[in-house]
């Protein structure tokens, strides 16, 4: 006995989920001896039965002897008047299900309980009794069961009705005699009774087509209140419709009006059930289908995941549904699927299949893009879905009419494919692009091949062969890329590039903003001096805030990094490390989102981004001058840190010029206690020299005037020192 006890303790230390964790059958059977105590402890007995039930439900089995011992011990508990213990006794008798010749011993006690004054006893005794009874005994208790069906107490009535459903399998001729009582119960006010009564009544009559039809006819006129019963009725109705066929004269279906009316029912489940019944009708016409699809679409945007799921499942069944609705709706469907999948990662297989199926169907660019984005996000967030997801993407680019999507997928494939268990299987898909597609896609495919070659040593020789073939491509860009990558990959240090440089070159993101590069290239005039990429400004022009918000809502799928936060940190880090003043601060931990320091539509718009380092903090003030008649020079921000005692100013990087509508950045760096989440309040004053500008000619006056502009305060708070981590499974994190 000692060993299981020790084990129990160990388990409890590791995880504290279930109070029953680690209980042993042997120990519980020992505990079951309390049932035989002369002085019963009802509470204790209940606990032991709970443990026994737990074991049984966990799949533990009792030997014949064990079950018999426990059963007879349990029967002695009928002496206790404790209602909750009695309830447990009923349960364990049902679960133990001892052999018929033994279980009969409780019959008398149950019959007594069945006529007791306590409703709980009555209901449960009926349920247990109907489980253990045989034909002869049933005739003895039939009278009581019939009474119970029309009992005032809904729990008792339901118990009798459910028993009837079970007994119908073994003793149909007896249960069929209860029709009158059951019919009375269908009219019950209690929802559950109505539901069970309807189910039983239908089962009694199920082999009589006419009787079922009559039942449906009478009930569809609206006496069913319980939503569950209503769902049943919908099912029975569709059964009747299936069997009767359409009315050949008018083309109308019998009872279709009823189904359609159910689409406007109060209860969601009735609506779903009715919609499903309609979609499953034989030869359903689009006129009949439309209202059902409309309600299902409404459910797709419901806040309840269950409804979304049910709607999707139903819609899934309609093979032609996705081609019926407009692309905008399809995108809604796809987004619903994506959020569903993220919420229930274990279901990714089914949902990924759904995505790949609709991916094969016809659809516009936005729709396909939504699907691709969803798959990419799922691959990123659910590691198990990676291989299948990549495979679906590969399949898609085999027959993809959108250059943009092809190149995006190829890029993504280049980053993710080499890290899978069998990278070689993707090569065929990629090289097919080189053979079959337009120049842009071909070029992207060449880059992807190179990435595989660089990361997967075993594939290198084959990649070389493929890249060499690309040297004969008709397109300049493709040939250039192939040549470049061949050289890079073959270098082996001869060109002075290390393996790390190669990887940086292939996988690193461009460290200058594309917009800036584009402007610089446009202004570049052919000359002796080659274009130098380092001359391109690395300063990020802040986009208008509204645009950023939209971006935040729809995270783009094609990120190199694993989540959106670090991606923006990357951009900021590149920018900040380009200034010598901040280069010694170490790695950037986090950058906040911009905080507005001015009202909207003021003369000067300023917001601040807080960059957190281990021992420093850098404030990036993004300033915009909205006055066309002014040019600001020597712009600085005077930061008053008197309410932030732990911070000490170490550096400041003012802005030389701030012309009209051309944003600029000012940086102020502070030192703070290393590694500590110091907090404080900062007040800010914008100082500058104003020069008048003639908006027509653009001429600037020589003389400027000193001026200042009060900005709002902001705070450094504890939240600035925290990163957001996406957590799909809390258990895994704890583990």
């Amino acid at each position: 006995m000692a060993q299981p006890l020790v084990k129990k303790d160990d388990d409890q230390e590791e995880e504290e989920y279930s109070p029953f964790l680690g209980i042993e059958k042997g120990a519980v059977l020992q505990e079951a001896r309390v049932f035989n105590d002369p002085q019963l402890d009802a509470r204790r007995c209940s606990q032991v039965i709970t443990k026994l039930l737990y074991l049984l439900n966990q799949g533990d089995t009792f030997t014949k002897i064990e079950a018999t011992e426990v059963f007879f011990a349990v029967t002695k508990l009928f002496q206790s008047k404790d209602t909750s213990l009695r309830r447990m006794v009923y349960l364990i008798i049902k679960e133990l299900s001892p052999s018929a010749d033994e279980v009969i011993i409780v019959t008398s006690s149950l019959m007594k309980d069945m006529n007791s004054k306590t409703d709980m006893y009555r209901a449960n005794a009926i349920r247990v009794l109907s489980r253990i009874t045989d034909g002869t005994l049933l005739t003895q208790i039939e009278r009581y069961l019939k009474q119970a069906i029309v009992d005032k107490n809904p729990v008792v009535a339901s118990a009798a009705l459910v028993s009837g459903i079970h007994l119908l399998q073994t003793n149909p001729e007896i249960v069929k005699r209860w029709s009158n009582e059951v019919q009375e119960a269908v009219q019950s006010r209690a929802a559950l009774v109505q539901f069970h009564a309807l189910a039983l009544l239908h089962q009694i009559r199920q082999n009589d087509r006419l009787a079922v039809s009559k039942l449906v006819t009478s009930l569809t006129k609206g006496s069913v209140r319980s939503p569950l019963a209503q769902c049943l009725l919908v099912r029975y109705t569709s059964q009747v419709i299936r069997e009767s066929g359409t009315n050949s004269q008018t083309g109308d279906r019998p009872f279709f009006d009823y189904l359609e009316a159910c689409l406007r029912h109060k209860a969601d489940m009735v609506i779903i059930e009715a919609a499903r019944a309609i979609t499953e009708l034989n030869g359903v016409t689009s006129r009949e289908l439309t209202p059902a699809i409309t309600v299902l679409q409404l459910f797709l945007s419901s806040s309840k995941p269950v409804l979304r799921f049910a709607a999707i499942r139903t819609l899934n069944k309609i093979s032609n549904f996705m081609s019926d609705i407009a692309d905008e709706f399809k995108i809604v469907v796809v987004e619903a699927i994506r959020s569903l999948c993220l919420k229930f990662p274990l279901k990714h297989r089914a949902l990924m299949n759904f995505l790949s199926n609709i991916l094969r169907e016809e659809g516009g660019f936005e729709y396909k893009k939504a699907i691709i984005d969803s798959i990419v996000i799922l691959i990123r967030d659910i590691p198990e879905a990676k291989e299948t997801g990549l495979f679906h993407l590969c399949e898609f680019i085999e027959d993809c009419e959108f250059t943009y999507l092809s190149t995006q997928i190829l890029h993504f494939l280049g980053n993710e494919g080499p890290k899978t268990s069998d990278p070689s299987k993707y090569i065929r898909y990629i090289y097919n692009r080189v053979i079959l597609e337009n120049a842009t896609v071909r070029a992207a495919a060449v880059s992807t091949l190179a990435k595989f070659g660089s990361l997967v040593e075993s594939l290198k020789p084959r990649i070389f062969v493929l890249l060499r073939r690309c040297l004969f491509d008709s397109d300049d860009e493709v040939r250039d890329r192939a040549t470049l990558f061949l050289n890079v990959l073959e270098s082996d240090g001869t060109v002075g590039e290390s393996v790390k440089d190669v990887k940086n070159f292939l996988f690193g993101a461009l460290d200058v903003p594309l917009v800036n590069l584009e402007t610089s290239l446009q202004s570049y005039e052919p000359s002796e001096e080659p274009f130098n990429i380092s001359s391109v400004s690395k300063e990020v022009k802040p986009q208008p805030l509204t645009e950023k918000k939209i971006q935040g809502k729809k995270p783009s799928g094609f990120g190199v990094s694993s989540n959106g936060v670090t991606q923006s940190v990357d951009t900021y880090e590149k920018l900040l490390s380009s200034f010598p003043e901040f280069s010694g601060f170490g790695p950037l931990f986090k950058s906040s989102s911009p905080i507005e320091l001015t009202e909207a539509e003021t003369e000067y718009a300023v917001n601040v981004v807080k960059h957190i380092y281990s021992g420093h903090i850098v404030f990036q003030y993004n300033c915009t001058n909205t006055i066309s008649e002014q040019l600001l020079e020597n712009v600085t921000v005077i930061v008053d840190a008197s309410e932030a005692e732990e911070f000490a100013k170490v550096a400041s990087k003012p802005l030389k010029q701030l012309p009209y509508e051309s944003p600029g950045q000012i940086f102020v760096a502070f030192e703070k206690p290393d590694g500590l989440p110091a907090t404080g309040r900062f007040s800010n004053l914008l100082k500058f020299e104003v020069k008048e500008v003639d908006p027509a000619s653009g001429e600037v006056e020589e003389e400027g005037v000193e001026d200042e502009y009060q900005l709002e305060d902001f705070e450094v708070v504890a939240a600035d020192y925290m990163l957001r981590a996406p957590v799909l499974n809390f258990k895994k994190c704890l583990g």
């Binding site: 002369p38 007879f72 002496q79």
Partner: protein, 220 residues
């Protein structure tokens, strides 16, 4: 051996005599006669102490009633519990549990069905009881041999060793009922060893000797 039998018979004799003498109100009189301590001779202090004891020492006795079907077990329980006698009884399918309070003693009565299918389960409900009560229909001559075998079969069970046994010959209101001596003979009570054995002749219908049975319960 002989001495014990004599003792047993004396036990049986006494109530029989009572019954024949005071046919009109056997219950009440028998009660008082058999329990002289509860009469007025008991001092006030003793009564007070008894009351105190009853507060702290509520006694609980567990008894199993077994015997062939139609022997009158359930009727006996009903009569003991004060529910009265009823002709219209059905077979006990399984068992009945009744708690009867007499004074400061609570009796837990396990009344087990007597049909053949339940006989193998008797033993389970007889373990660790204070006494086994075996009820026999003393007017059913045909079933007596079966009753005897079933009784002797169950008594050899190891788990029931030393548990006192009370054999009740029921239905003595019927003319064909056996006399106590013949009954004891038929049941072969003499051969039972290793436990205390008592035998009363009762009638649930006429409530004959029921008081004696209750009294016996309390004493043991």
């Amino acid at each position: 051996m002989n001495r014990r039998m004599e003792e047993m018979l004396r036990h049986v004799e006494e109530p029989r005599g009572l019954h024949s003498e005071k046919c009109g109100r056997p219950c009440m009189d028998g009660w008082i006669l058999l329990r002289p301590t509860s009469s007025s001779t008991m001092g006030f202090w003793e009564a007070f102490l008894n009351w105190l004891r009853s507060l702290f020492f509520k006694q609980e006795l567990e008894l199993s009633l077994i015997g062939l079907n139609n022997a009158g077990k359930t009727s006996l329980v009903n009569v003991i519990a004060g529910d009265g006698y009823s002709e219209d009884m059905i077979h006990t399918v399984g068992f009945n549990m009744r708690k009867v309070v007499k004074g400061n003693i609570t009796f837990k009565l396990w009344d087990i069905g007597g049909q053949p299918r339940f006989r193998s389960m008797w033993e389970r409900y007889c373990r660790s009881v204070s006494a086994i009560v075996y009820v026999v229909d003393a007017a059913d001559h045909e079933s007596l041999p079966t009753a005897r075998t079933e009784l002797h079969d169950i008594l050899i069970k190891q788990s029931l060793r030393r548990i006192p046994l009370l054999v009740l010959g029921n239905k003595i209101d019927k003319p064909e009922a056996l006399s106590k001596a013949a009954f004891a003979e038929q049941m072969d009570l003499k051969s039972i060893k290793g436990r205390k054995v008592y035998c009363f002749m009762i009638s649930c219908k006429d409530a004959t000797n029921i008081d004696v049975v209750i009294d016996w319960f309390i004493k043991h």
